[in-house]
Symmetry: C2
Subunit: 546 residues, 2 copies
């Protein structure tokens, strides 16, 4: 066994030894390995009481209300989610480490506090939250998807976890991420590949792919992910969940491990994923900003989370196509259904003409790796771990030679001009929000997520963007007329080949939608998404349609 394998084994050992074995389902009780959709397996497994099923299908908001009314204890809540997470891990390989004992101890403390005072510790009292691995937890290793970092111990909890903890959250499981953190997929040389609960031959997305699986399987009502090109939103969309990319410099990033510290031309952001509702995304954001993280991490903007009135007085621009790759048929079907319902509900809808999205991609893809990804490559070469195909793919965005400082400055200027122009265009057209695909299609096959720009363009523009389930999934009829169809470019050709080779394999995969707001209008974006989701998902409500 070569060195990198010995090192990588440490991550596997940490994971294996952390699994609370009492909740493992025997191999022979698991669904067959060729069963693709396991999202509903918890109900079939016989492992859960009805009460546990009920708890794990509740939103954080409802759970907190329930605990506040004394209907649940934090302990039973965290145990229910831990059980579900263990099963989810058996089926999807989404965890990197369980923290069961610590979580249960914490839950007992919260329960004691509640019994003693009759009060909740805070607005996240007893809410189990799963956490992407590279978000540091004091005393635990933090590898960020690199074998070279497998021995690194986080000196303290990431600041965002401190904010959530103070509000009563419980961290019970850490989740998987891809090598380099730069795949819209979730595979590394440490703990392997995570799969999608709705179809285990598909990716849960990435880089917060473990979080996508966690939300899709309901291993937690809330999760913490990070996003520099779609890494919260793709997993949310692929796994029938909710995700939010806040405007940069709102949520605190201290204690999150990644290569390129000090790179600030395109900042990654940390934000929430949720299994059940947009309300939970808002709850998360409110808790984080109520903690005033800018009083510790001074590069943040001191903007408290604002309460905004829900209103239907806004204009939604629907973007059908980014002019590089047309979305696959089920995505268009979902957008069309959304348009009809929004119009019927009296919400103003117009078409949104994408403005220079390819230019946006040109800027951001260069800014990801201005040093030819040398900091990442150095990390990989330290252990000689194999470079995975999607890592190579991401690094291929990098300019072959290092950018000079002046070249990097020119990209900053182009970025700011693009942002100002885009903003002016939205204002001029009176478009408050853009409803658009979160990806060219539904969850792609494992190791095949190659086209980032339905999400990354909003990173370069630094616009807040929320993903929510459309309530629809791929159906047998979703083939799309192949006759007369001509790819406009090689990228489109490539992305549609993936669809047409066998559309049937995607049947049942959920369709997420993305809604984008104006710079720093995070609050308005989530508020409007609630209205849009309610209208789009119709009277069936909740997640019933899938």
């Amino acid at each position: 066994m070569s060195t990198w394998q010995t090192e990588a084994l440490k991550a596997k050992t940490i994971l294996q030894s952390s699994i609370p074995t009492q909740w493992l389902l025997p191999e022979d009780k698991l669904p067959p390995s060729d069963q693709k959709n396991v999202a509903d397996f918890p109900r079939a497994s016989g492992l859960f009481t009805n009460r546990e099923l009920l708890i794990t299908e509740m939103s954080a908001t409802s759970l907190v209300a329930g605990m506040g009314a004394g209907r649940f204890s934090a302990e039973e809540v965290v145990v229910a989610f831990l059980k579900r997470a263990v099963l989810g891990h058996q089926l999807l390989n989404f965890a990197t480490e369980f923290m069961a004992d610590k979580a249960i101890t914490r839950a007992k403390e919260l329960d004691a506090y509640y019994r003693r005072t009759g009060k909740l510790v805070g607005p996240l009292h007893g809410v189990p939250i799963s956490v992407k691995e590279h978000i540091g937890i004091k005393g635990l290793t933090c590898n960020g998807g690199y074998v070279a970092w497998v021995n690194d111990i986080a000196p303290e909890d990431a600041l965002i976890l401190q904010c959530l903890h103070k509000a009563g959250a419980i961290f019970h499981v850490r989740t998987n991420q891809p090598q380099s953190l730069m795949h819209l997929c979730c595979s590394n040389n440490l703990t392997g590949t995570t799969t999608n609960p709705y179809n285990r031959t598909l990716t849960p997305g990435g880089s917060s792919g473990g979080e996508g699986a966690s939300m899709g399987f309901k291993c937690a009502p809330l999760g913490v992910g990070t996003d520099i090109g779609g890494s919260i939103r793709a997993p949310a969309a692929f796994c029938n969940a909710y995700g939010f990319r806040p405007t940069m410099r709102r949520n605190p990033c201290s204690g999150i491990k990644a290569p390129e510290p000090g790179q600030e031309a395109i900042l990654g952001v940390v934000g929430p994923l949720a299994a059940q509702s947009l309300d939970d995304l808002e709850l998360f954001q409110r808790v984080v900003l109520d903690a005033e993280p800018w009083d510790v991490e001074t590069s943040l903007v001191p903007l408290p989370w604002r309460k905004v009135k829900e209103s239907r007085e806004f204009t939604v621009g629907i973007m059908w196509d980014d002019r590089t790759v047309r979305p696959h048929p089920p995505i268009i079907r979902a957008l069309k259904a959304a348009r009809s319902k929004l119009q019927a509900a009296g919400i103003k809808v117009v078409d949104w003409d994408p403005y220079k999205h390819a230019h946006g991609w040109d800027i951001i893809s260069k800014l990801y790796f201005p040093d030819t990804a040398s900091s990442q490559k150095t990390l990989l070469s330290q252990t000689n771990e194999p470079i995975l195909p999607l890592t190579e793919w991401a690094f291929s965005y990098a300019h072959p030679t290092p950018l000079s400082i002046a070249e990097a400055w020119a990209l900053n200027v182009a970025r700011d001009e693009y942002r100002d122009e885009y903003h002016a265009r939205m204002k001029a057209r009176g478009v408050d929000f853009i409803l658009c695909p979160a990806y060219v299609g539904v969850a792609p096959d494992l190791y095949e997520a190659q086209y980032w720009n339905y999400t990354a363009v909003w990173n370069v523009l630094d616009l807040p963007a929320v993903v929510f389930p459309s309530g629809m999934a791929v159906e047998e009829g979703d083939v799309g007329g192949k006759e007369g169809w001509v790819a406009r470019n090689e990228v489109e050709e490539r992305e549609w080949r993936k669809w047409w080779v066998d559309p049937g394999r995607f049947v049942g995969a959920p369709v997420g939608l993305q809604m984008v707001g104006r710079h720093f209008k995070d609050e308005e974006t989530i508020a409007a998404a609630k209205v849009v989701e309610e209208v789009v998902r119709g009277s069936e409500g909740g997640r019933a349609r899938l």
Copy 2:
């Protein structure tokens, strides 16, 4: 005449042909060229009516109130200031271009509006404002201190000028700046050297040196400057005026010309200087942020100017020494007087121990020119204009070889850590504001301003900082005990040699003080500075003591 001289002449021609000659004082009526202090010459000149003297010694706030009550017309106000500016230019060479006709036309329009409606156009109705040359004005050249840019025409008004204009401001004169914009002095190959109204052998400071002279001579109640290392605050301090460096990303910078666009590791800021009062600095800031510039320049933070209650419940830390260069005796005398008065007034005062200021300088000085100043040097070489000594001096901060992207990132990390640490230290010690020197001494001799770090450290820390006159000036007794004095390093040796060679030559030079607040606490900083100024300048009030 070589090419650069031909080119430079264009700037001189623009200036000369813009001077409203009707207000020029004949040479023989001017004070002798060896008269150092000309600050009070307007009164002696016989050029002004008492009413004009009164008007030009009023604050913007009072002028607007007067115009609102119909006591003055905008036209007479702008004419009074134009006359004073023409005289000031004759004595100090501070202007790069007059805009008399346009200003008077605008004033007449404002007067007509007032007569028609009985209302003011806005909170800066009829206020003449001088503007540093590199802040673009539509249709006029914008050279930024470089001969190479002498033909560049600004395509539109800088966004900050648009905000001020909308509120009723009148721009009547553009002001001088040094070559490269990186001297705390004010000399270039275009329109020459600006001098200090309180002592024409001394510098007015820089890089907003023309603004310093404009404020010191009262050529406008308000001016617009820029600051990346002290360029608003040094001129304000040297010229007995007021100046404010806001937190980055609050005031809009679009349309301001400078090399290194896209450099964002250390952002220059634009902000006000004022001749008469801290209230005027606040008025300026309120007007700019009430215009919501972030809705155009999206890199700004959408933080409106907050109204804060004036309070005396704060703690001032006095910084006596930055541990590299002790301030000269008059500065210490002013700080000691301030301490006594603050204590007597019941305001909590403690000593502030500077935290790693040399480290801060190390970071910021590298971040000024990470590309070895090559963008600046290229501009200079385009015309072969001579490189002035203080330009060489500034460029000497640059690393001899270009920094790599990764090296620049490491500096960003060091900068952010330093900011977080400094902030934590202020919090831990309960210090709300730091009262400190604005420079090692009073205005230095021309071409001698070499030590930046009493101001630049607040740029690297991105803390809001306000400068106001202490009410004191250098006196005959201000020598300082030389016996036993030992320089702690070569920089201190150099800076004190400048003092001891002949302290008498500084007699009468005003002493400014600087007050620094916490990140984004711009409003609180100005509000507290008002309290401190009132206490420090005692019952004499206003500017009477100098």
